[in-house]
Amino acid sequence: MPVETTPPADPLLSVRDLRVQFPTDDGLVRAVDGLSFDVAPGEIVGVVGESGSGKSVTGQAILGLLRRTRARVTGEIRFDGRDLVTAPEAELRRLRGAELAMVFQDPLSALHPYYTVGSQVSEAYRVHNRVSKRAARERAVQMLDRVGIPEPHRRYGAYPHEFSGGMRQRVMIAMALVCTPRLLIADEPTTALDVTVQAQILELLGDLRDEFGSAVLLVTHDLGVVAETCDSVVVMYAGQCVEQAGVEDLFARPQAPYTWGLLGSMPRVDRDRRDRLAPIGGQPPSLLAIPPGCAFEPRCGYHEEVPESRCVDERPALVHDGQGRAVRCHLTAGQRLTLRPVAP
């Protein structure tokens, strides 16, 4: 397998027109429906969306974890030049854990209850490195220490149930980073944790990115997490990317009506408490029957601004502005500027 050398400016991960479909008795569930985005080396990219927007499925598709399910994955996932969708399983297995690693939402169920945390971390190291058990153990202890487990030598032999939620997630992160992967996919890594612990874990992820140079794909439903951690953001709705932007751009100048809705439903201390939160009305569409036009149209307050009911009939394309921003909406740039709810 020849390894292509890519200049550092090229994206590490490049997802193009990714589709993940699950055939069920009720019909075809389109969990991801033509998703495209890039992750540059060392970048932290947030993937935001409501439950069922396809963000977790995207993470699992990148690792090829959906191959054992009935899911149909098409499109292109280029990682360092190699297409992961069509890569043989043996090659994917070499990449998993070594170059691509994953941290899951609930660290209690994601760690094996019958093995010590140390053995689980050193196993992850030994799969990809021909080293002695002792060397792997040393490496695991070193990683446990790095992610902030106190007394790592002693805790090496402890079982997952003997740790707190935050400590367990630290173990998961140590396990994911033990082979210094180039891309870490963190699937709601802080959702199951206390708020104070959340901040610690996010800080740890940021620190580790700086230290190991791993890019991070942070899957979350929490815009607050995105604001704190990410360099750029992909906003997902019904399996599609509706907006992509740098994190400051997104919060300062959101373009898509769905992003406006997300930001409006986010509590903020700097706003007057008498201003009620504005939740987005209605429900996301069923993934069995995504509307032929814009998927967000039924919940969108601006579709009347677009002539000839295009929002109902025609799916808007994801339009890139050439400066790293992309938006999927029929509204014109001028309209978006005037219609956008005023952010404080």
Binding site: L63, L65, M102, Y114, H128, Y159, M172
Partner: protein
Amino acid sequence: MLRYLLGRIAGALTVVVVVSVVTFAIFQLAPRLTGANMAFYYTGKSTSEAQAAAVAQKFGFDKPLPEQYWTFMSGIVAGRDLSDGVTEVRCPAPCLGYSFRQNRPVLEMIGEAFPVTLGLTLGAAVLWLLFGVAAGVLSAVRRGSVFDRLATAVALIGVSVPEFFTGMLLIYLLTSGPAWLRLYPDGINYVPLTEDPVGWFAAMVPPWTCLALLFAALYARLTRATMLETLSEDYVRTAWAKGLPPRTVVGRHGLRAVLPPIVTLVGLDVGALLGGVVLVETLFSFPGLGRLAYRAITSQDLPVIMGVTIVGALLIVCANLIVDLLYGVLDPRVRNAR
């Protein structure tokens, strides 16, 4: 861990005491209810009234039940002098009773029969674990495949066909079936392991097969179901995400989680079987505990029935205890819980 261990052992001892009380009570009460003279159950076949009265006196059947129970239990510790009115015998400790029908201490008979049952049970357990668990794992990994369907069908047959049927079929085919199958032209006869290991093994194979067929089917179903559940667990997904080969994911991460329920069931099944594999032993005429009990029941040899019952109960309690202790070893969460 130590507290867990001591707790379990104390529990097991309590159960043994309760079981001995209940067994004793049942076998004392039943003859009283039917109005038969207790003495006849304890003596040889031809017993005169005078003899019976002497036996009743010797055994203290007129004494209160707690005192009789105490005598019986202290016999286990210290031995007893017993008599059927004609012969006086010394039943040395531990004395579980003396069969005047066969003129032998009960413990000696059990001691002779137990190795047969032990060999039968353990051998069969090895067979059914090997085939049952392997078939279950393969079925789960290749769910919906031809193998899975075939295994399901075979398991269904295995569960539904009673062991006396497969046993008789085996005996017929192997002793007087077609010439190429007639591997045991002289019949399937039990040979003690110490006398002739090869002969022992050869004689054991048919009853092992007969027993294992039934249990392998049950274990295959259990393993398949538990394995399917385990393979959809988050920690198995983590194992895939580490880049482990399928062999390791299924064999190390999957099978490890399937182990506790299987070990539990094996312990209980082996414990129950050790008390006597009545059908198979009777069918193959193997002199094990099951056949001993069966014969004692048909000849109303009360001391033997009682002895086998208590020993059987003791074996089940021991098996339970071992399962509990193994569970502590297998599941770190149980270990720390108490």
